[in-house]
Symmetry: C2
Subunit: 157 residues, 2 copies
């Protein structure tokens, strides 16, 4: 099953490699990861998305909790939460296809953030389903570059 | 100086801890990090934002290039590029302040993605200056939770 783990850590050098080591030590790959400061500059949040056996993920969460620089770990999967991801897509375009692409971008409430003669760069935010749907549509025009942040999550209410 | 490093890597277990180790081994902290797949599911992109001595960052980039699972490293700082970050802000609100908050959210072209009696959750996308400005404004109402993806970057044109 897929898990979204939100992990508050001390904003210190070395924490990231210790956390990453817990996953790689079990041969577990992280699908996406976001690390950034919180409202307290001394505390960073890691949002980790990974798939795997529930029992093993539970073990990893226990190990995370034992790390000295880890403040709090929440498995968001079990909680009511909102997920979002930001994706930048550089898509090939010609004079003939530009209007079609712009129309699709508008349907998705996405934004065009850069244009030149041969490409459009699109910024889209949403849950996985929405961003994957736009990426699929853009594939038919030719994706030149795809930059994703990975998913973040926040508890409801 | 601040550097934004975009790093294409094989999507394999263990790569992240090796990359993180290069930074922590020098006592260098990563400010923000995004890791997610690209249009090729076998290849992930890491976007690393860090500050430090240019000479040492240059050394780190050389070391990154030597890692077997690293495909390509670009220091975006030297190139024409667009940066974006996604931030979710859960802000305290009352019947008296709700309208003020919504007004500010609209000015920033941000979106409200969750509401309850005591909080509003806001989604905002932009460059550092824009998102920092909204975070500062929201601080006066009381930030309950702040979830940032960290910055991603894409080359222009």
């Amino acid at each position: 099953m897929e898990h979204v783990i939100s992990c508050l850590v001390e904003n210190k050098s070395g924490v990231l490699s210790r956390v990453a080591g817990l996953f790689s030590g079990r041969g577990y790959n992280i699908d996406t990861l976001c690390v950034a400061p919180t409202q307290d500059a001394n505390v960073s949040r890691m949002t980790i998305v990974c798939r795997g056996d529930d029992r093993i993920i539970e073990q990893i969460i226990k190990q995370l909790n034992k790390l000295i620089d880890v403040i709090k770990v929440t498995d968001m999967t079990a909680e009511e939460h909102v997920e979002r991801e930001l994706v930048l897509i550089k898509v090939a375009c010609t004079a003939a296809t530009r209007a079609d692409i712009i129309q699709l971008v508008n349907v998705f409430r996405a934004r065009i953030i850069d244009v030149d003669l041969k490409t459009l760069t699109v910024e889209v935010v949403g849950d996985s389903r929405k961003v994957e749907a736009l990426i699929e549509l853009m594939r038919s025009f030719g994706i030149r570059e795809l930059v994703r942040t990975g998913r973040v999550a926040i508890l409801r209410g």
